[in-house]
Amino acid sequence: MTYEELATYANYALYSAMGVLTLAMLAFAGYLAGLMPARSELKEARRDAEADATPDRSLVGAGTATAEAADTVESTRPAAPAPRRAVGRGPVDVDRDEGVSAGARKLGGIAITLTWLSTGLLTLSVLLRGLSVQRAPLGNLFEFAVTACLAALIAFAVWSTRRDLRWLGLFVVAPVLLVLGVALVSWYTEAAELMPSLQSYWLVIHVTVAVLASAVFFIGAMTGILYLWQDSVERSGATSVLNRFPPARTLERLTYGLHVVAFPLWTFTLIAGAIWARQAWASYWNWDPKEVWTFIIWVVYAAYLHARVTSGWSKQRATWIALAGFVCIIINYTVVNLFFVGQHSYSGL
């Protein structure tokens, strides 16, 4: 196969991945529609939400809880004010299927399967693209965006094997689809070699970790938004599809946990970028716009971690800082790449 053919097949795989991902998105949407509590369920749903919101109740199941161990856990608790709903695999695995129609449940399962399929196709696309250019497919904004989407899908799919994430699916899959679409329509770049400044193994180290960190920050931003939303739903006591989502407290913890993973990755990205900059541009820090924004993002997320433990700062306000950090990430990959003049030129854009 010639390199051009490989590049063409990479594109076919990309189209297929997007097609499957569209179906997954629809299935996730259908699943969420099925979660919408009916009027008759209103009271029950609200009671469940309250039970979920009680700290240290349904959230603290152990990772290995067998029926016996669960018994022990039960006996270690102070008198329980509300009934536990179920014991599951992980902390948030209260049984969300209870009262969900069989159709919706099926859709949820299909959606996860389709997400896996699409992840596989996108992996194939990235691999073929890499083969077609004989290098890591990270050389321009198009390749970067596709790889970032792949990282987000992998992170989500792998995480979904550890806990029930069907509620999160739509919020991951839809933005990923959007980015893939924009990448294909606006940023598509013909497969080609790299310019000399990009020909370094630091490209692979620096950019791969940046991609991973961005993907985890992205999922963290989604759970962060859901947390703020859930929080307002819980406060108002409204009936909402969010009644069947994990309680706000859990969502906040998940958000924090994701940022705790992503922040060191981003710190590493910054350091690796500086090492590479010194090789390619003679100085490890040049105040190039891209460097500046990487630094801004780092500072904003450091502020988030600080805000979370600063007395007088609520978890909600801290989460807003995390979301501001994600807005900076978006700016970094769009506005900064396309409009600001710097040394981080992406060939072909």
């Binding site: 080609a192 003679a282 040049n286």
Partner: protein
């Protein structure tokens, strides 16, 4: 959930341990009181948070506006294009953001706050690591995460022994303040990591500062075949504490330079993009010469300096003769590339002619004449090179003012015109061409095309400190985020009613900690491998 508070006290033990809290100091309004108050404000978490957010915001304009230290020309153009906003923004430091007083004051305050925050915490942590864990609270049932265990009558101390072993295996520090009680604390590394992280940030700043004070950099354009020595920098920027001897005596000859450009992928944006630049050089230091190459991502490391390949371009070899055929000027003349197709500007200054003769114009590596008659380069490689020049006569260096080698200062020169005097005299030269100048002024020959390497020689003695600090910060960060800080307590109580002994274990953490339950469960299993026996009957 009760938490271990930041100041090291915890709400549960504070009372039982009978620890006295500081007497509330009345705020006095004298100068020292105010200073104390300000210091406390500056070193509070809230101020640190505020300063962090300020730092992020203050860094933004530097990415929006051109910066003088990066691209002085673009900055000057921007100011010229915005006659109202330009000067105002300039006065506010928007074109030198990262050396502006307001940016500096934010990060200096942040680092003062950092020191003021971290040093006392280091002390507290140091003390905490040498003190035994706090006393066992009286009523462990009051802690959210606790576990009650019934054991054989009188087996209480024995159970605590086993618990102590299990905890020590988990690297907890264990202390039994009184018979029948046990206190343990683990995860000191969390705080250690946090302190290392924050202290390492200071190391980064120190490293950066050292680089500014003792570092230097010099740039030079070296045509193929020429030798570069430290006396030949085009620009040289030493740090304030750099002496002359700090720049090592080395020479560098550029033997050859190759460049490759994209000519297979023809889509816009890819066609003509650079693919490879290699400078073949002979470096001589301490009397030893060696042949090597320098590439964009592969600098040449010398003793006390590193040589980077940062640019390249063309140096057409030009010879100017007078009317008698005497050579007035000859050699490779560097032309500065202006765009991706290496359309380059340059000047030939023939000071040996009388009056002085100056040529100025374009070098075009792949030259075409566009529809409207203008010369243009359409590909960066030297496929069809040409020189397009105009000629001036007069005083080349008026008043000895410094001037760019790529431009003519034509203030005191007049332009040569064609025979009829209707238009400027224009030269179009391809390699090998010789053209006679009008008015018996001699001739100019375009001999051949050479390339030049744009090199930058740098020395930054602070970079290793910066790198080591950055890696240390990363390590500390991972520790502080991964390690949970936990306390475990246990207390033995004889249950008089049933004649059995009850051991209550409890755990608490520094922050939200979903693992506390499983810790207690695991400990329970360690105490009694057969869970059935410890179950309530």
């Amino acid at each position: 959930m009760p938490r271990i508070t930041d100041d090291g006290t915890d709400p549960v033990t504070a009372g039982t341990a009978g620890r006295s809290t500081d007497p509330v100091t009345q705020p006095t309004l004298d100068a020292r009181g105010w200073l104390r108050f300000l210091w406390r404000q500056l070193t509070s978490m809230r101020t640190a948070l505020f300063l962090l957010l300020m730092l992020a915001v203050a860094a933004v304009p530097g990415s929006v506006f051109p910066q003088r230290n990066i691209d002085a020309t673009r900055t000057a153009d921007w100011i010229a294009d915005h006659p109202t906003a330009g000067p105002i923004l300039d006065r506010l430091g928007f074109f030198d953001v990262y050396s502006s007083p307001w940016f500096a004051s934010i990060y200096l305050l942040l680092f003062i706050s950092l020191v003021g925050c971290v040093l006392p915490r280091t002390r507290v942590h140091w003390d905490a690591m040498r003190q035994p864990p706090p006393r066992t609270p009286a009523r462990l049932e009051r802690l959210a995460t606790h576990s009650v265990l019934e054991v054989e009558a009188g087996a209480g101390e024995d159970t605590l022994d086993r618990l102590e072993r299990a905890l020590r295996r988990r690297r907890y520090r264990v202390h039994r303040h009184q018979p029948g009680t046990l206190s343990a604390e683990g995860g000191y590394l969390k705080e250690t990591g946090n302190l290392v992280f924050h202290l390492a940030l200071i190391g980064i700043i120190v490293g950066v500062a050292a680089g500014h004070l003792w570092g230097w950099k010099g740039d030079a354009i070296v045509p193929v075949g020429q030798t570069f020595a430290k006396t030949r920098f085009d620009t040289f920027a030493p740090g304030p504490w750099v002496g002359d001897d700090d720049v090592p005596p080395f020479t560098l000859r550029v033997d050859d330079f190759t460049a490759e450009f994209e000519d297979e992928v023809t889509t816009e944006g890819q066609f003509g993009m650079p693919r490879d630049f290699t400078a073949y050089v002979t470096a001589t230091e301490n009397g030893v010469a060696r042949e090597t190459i320098i590439k964009v991502n592969a600098p040449l490391e010398l003793d006390g300096a590193s040589v980077f390949l940062l640019g390249n371009g063309y140096a057409p070899v030009i010879t100017v003769r007078d009317a008698a055929g005497e050579v007035l000027y000859t050699g490779p003349t560097t032309f500065l590339p202006q765009d991706n197709n290496y359309q380059s500007v340059g000047a030939v200054k023939v000071a040996a002619a009388d009056p002085g003769l100056g040529f100025v114009g374009w070098f075009l590596p792949t030259a075409v004449i566009t529809e409207d008659g203008g010369p243009q380069s359409i590909f960066p490689d030297a496929l069809q090179p040409a020189l397009a020049l105009t000629v001036y006569e007069g005083e080349l260096f008026p008043d000895g003012r410094p001037q760019s080698v790529f431009r003519l200062d034509t203030d005191e020169m007049t332009q040569l015109t064609n025979e009829e005097g209707t238009d400027a005299f224009r030269l179009w030269l391809e390699p090998g061409d010789t053209v006679e100048l009008p008015g018996d002024r001699g001739s100019i020959t375009f001999e051949s095309v050479e390339r030049f390497a744009g090199i930058s020689v740098r020395h930054d003695p602070g970079r290793w400190l910066t790198l080591a600090s950055a890696l240390l910060a990363l390590g500390g960060l991972i520790l502080t985020l991964v390690v949970p800080r936990r306390r475990v307590f246990a207390r033995v109580r004889a249950d008089s009613v049933e004649g059995r002994t009850v051991v209550t274990m409890a755990a608490m953490a520094k922050a939200d900690d979903t693992g506390l339950e499983s810790l207690l469960e695991d400990l329970r299993e360690d105490l009694d491998p057969d869970p059935d026996r410890s179950r309530k009957t």
